[in-house]
């Protein structure tokens, strides 16, 4: 299976989008080689703005560019986009519903060796709580490119969460992404695994492992965390009776919480959240980190078995 990091797919998609749409501009905060906006900067230097190591002004200027009719893609690491610049995103982009696309890379603990200071496990929770904001976590390179083109067509602020490490390519060109729509990747009757980002590949593996034990697990790629696809969740809850969520994020406030909110109000079934268990990460290789922090297919399998017992 081929592998590509979603940030790499983002960099390539931006260049394609920039060719198509002259209004697309890109801003970065001295991380263009890491966020991969460097490709766009080379292709369209006049439409690329390096704002220096100043994330607050990066987001404020993006809002101003949007007010001036441009479609700004503002990139930096998730920690500094959603963290440091939260309030500018809230007040200058979301409150006036300006057309700002915040594309944040290096999200989650698979940033790896940089350690906890750079491992954002809160960004989805923060961005999800802002009115007018749309939050998307693509699962692979193919989906990332489709997301970038879709959000350019949609008018309004969007937060896209991208990763540093290469992830397996799950989809081919026939894959269809729609904002606000979950996609059932695998049918199943006993339990549903709802995943996003790097955990979608793990969920697919987990589903195979469960099959060997006679458990039929449905897998849903919930790339849009907000607005969340209630319909697909309610259907899954009713048909499989148990749900596991899987995300590379704190179990508080992210996909797991968003799913729990829907289930509590619409279709109560047992739920188990797989994610970072309300703790900071540490330095290490991504492979070691996902093992230590419980973000593997194995952890999803265990959660699935537990939640089935509660049915």
């Amino acid at each position: 299976m081929s592998k590509i990091a979603t940030r790499d797919a983002y960099g390539k998609a931006l260049v394609k989008l920039g060719e198509e749409n002259q209004n697309v501009v890109v801003l970065d905060a001295d991380l263009s080689k890491s966020t991969k906006t460097v490709d766009f900067s080379k292709a369209f230097p006049e439409r690329f703005f390096n704002m220096g190591i100043a994330e607050q002004n990066l987001m404020g200027a993006a809002a101003g560019l949007a007010a001036g009719g441009k479609i700004p893609f503002a990139s930096t690491f998730a920690m500094f986009a959603a963290g440091r610049a939260f309030e500018i995103i809230r007040n200058s982009a979301c409150y006036p519903k300006l057309n700002v696309k915040v594309c944040a890379t290096h999200a989650g603990i698979t940033v790896g060796e940089d350690g906890a200071s750079h491992q954002s496990v809160e960004d989805v929770a923060i961005m999800r709580s802002i009115p007018n904001m749309t939050v998307i976590v693509p699962a692979d390179g193919v989906e990332t490119e489709k997301v970038i083109f879709e959000i350019a067509k949609y008018y309004g602020p969007v937060y896209v969460r991208l990763g540093r490490s290469a992830v397996p390519t799950l989809f081919d060109e026939s894959y269809e992404f729609q904002i606000g729509k979950g996609v059932t990747l695998k049918e199943g009757q006993d339990v549903t695994i709802v995943a996003c980002g790097i955990m979608v590949a793990e969920a697919m593996t987990a589903s195979e492992m469960l099959k060997e034990e006679g458990i039929s697990a449905r897998v849903i790629n919930m790339s849009t965390i907000k607005p969340i696809d209630k319909e697909i969740l309610i259907k899954a809850a009713k048909e499989t009776g148990a749900i596991v969520t899987a995300e590379e994020h704190n179990i508080i406030g992210g996909l797991g919480s968003a799913v729990a909110e829907v289930l509590m109000e619409e279709a109560l079934v047992p739920l188990k959240r797989v994610g970072v268990n309300d703790t900071f990460g540490e330095s290490g290789t991504p492979a070691d980190l996902v093992k230590k922090y419980g973000l593997t297919a194995n952890d999803i399998v265990n959660a699935a078995k537990e939640v089935i017992k509660k049915k």
Binding site: V25, E46, R47, F49, M51, G52, A54, Q56, N57, M59, G60, A61, A62, A63, G64, L65, A66, A67, G68, G69, K70, P72, E87, I88, N91, S92, Y95, P96, K97
Partner: protein, 275 residues
């Protein structure tokens, strides 16, 4: 319009309306609204290419009230220009009103940027100036900053970027009245030497009396001559200007006048209600 008598009449109306709307809503910021009346009237009645009948016309100049708490002066000036009926002013800060406590670009005709959280307006103004330059468009961007506001770090990020990207289509005023909520700037957090700081950040800096129309217009004319540098007009002003008992008193930063205060203030300002 550079007829000073006419401008002074507009300014007096705006001051009267600032006081009346804040009195009516029983909340708002009179001090820093009154200190920037001459700056805003000069911008909207002479300098800027704007049309109240066509608030979204493409090549309009943009104004960003970075010190968003001075919303009453902006609303007063927009109403004088005819962006919306003056009766709206008396709904300031009330439920279902288009006039929010701090400017809301979605709800109010003529408001170009939602502001209120200090420092963010200048960043947005930079982005707008960048957009205008990208399109080789003629429209210019104006911003008004508070002096206390420049204590925010984002202001200096924005200043650095405006100079870096040579935004000579950007003109910011600093409403330098010397006071913020807790007292004098120099006691709360010294901001000086202000002119040196902006010069060091690569701006074209002009220092004026912010209540003198001749000086305001001279500064704006000179800003148009600036090549490759954004302009900061440091306007020395008096907080609460025009109302004797409010002048230079920090306590009037965010306090509404009582019935008695209002009557006294309106008597001092002179003029009639429906001018």
């Amino acid at each position: 319009m550079r007829d000073h008598n006419e401008l002074k009449k507009v300014a007096r109306n705006v001051r009267r309306n600032i006081l009346k709307m804040i009195h009516e809503s029983k909340s708002g910021h009179p001090g820093g609204s009154l200190s920037s009346v001459e700056i805003l009237t000069a911008l909207y009645f002479d300098e800027m290419n704007v049309d109240a009948q066509s608030p979204k016309k493409e090549d309009r100049d943009r104004f960003v009230l970075s010190k968003g708490h001075a919303a009453p002066v902006l609303y007063g000036v927009l109403a004088e220009k005819g962006y919306f009926p003056k009766e709206e002013l008396m709904k300031l800060r009330k439920i279902d009103s288009m006039l929010q406590g701090h400017p809301d670009m979605k709800g109010t005709p003529g408001v170009e940027m939602s502001t209120g959280s200090l420092g963010q307006g200048l960043s947005a103004a930079c982005g707008m100036a960048m957009a205008s330059k990208l399109d080789n468009a003629p429209w210019r961007v104006y911003a008004l900053l508070g002096d206390g506001e420049i204590q925010e770090g984002i202001i200096w990020e924005a200043c650095m970027s405006a100079a870096h990207y040579k935004l000579d289509n950007l003109v910011a005023f600093l409403d330098y009245n010397g006071l913020q909520i807790d007292g004098k700037n120099e006691d709360v957090m010294n901001i000086g030497p202000v002119a040196d700081k902006f010069k060091a950040f690569g701006w074209n800096v002009i220092e004026i009396d912010g209540h003198d129309y001749d000086q305001i217009f001279a500064a704006l004319d000179s800003a148009r001559e600036s090549v490759g540098k954004p302009t900061m007009i440091i306007a020395k002003t008096v907080k609460g200007k025009g109302v004797s008992f409010m002048e230079d008193v920090a306590g009037w930063h965010g306090t509404a006048p009582s019935d008695e205060d209002l009557k006294k203030a309106l008597d001092e300002l002179g003029g009639e209600d429906n001018e």
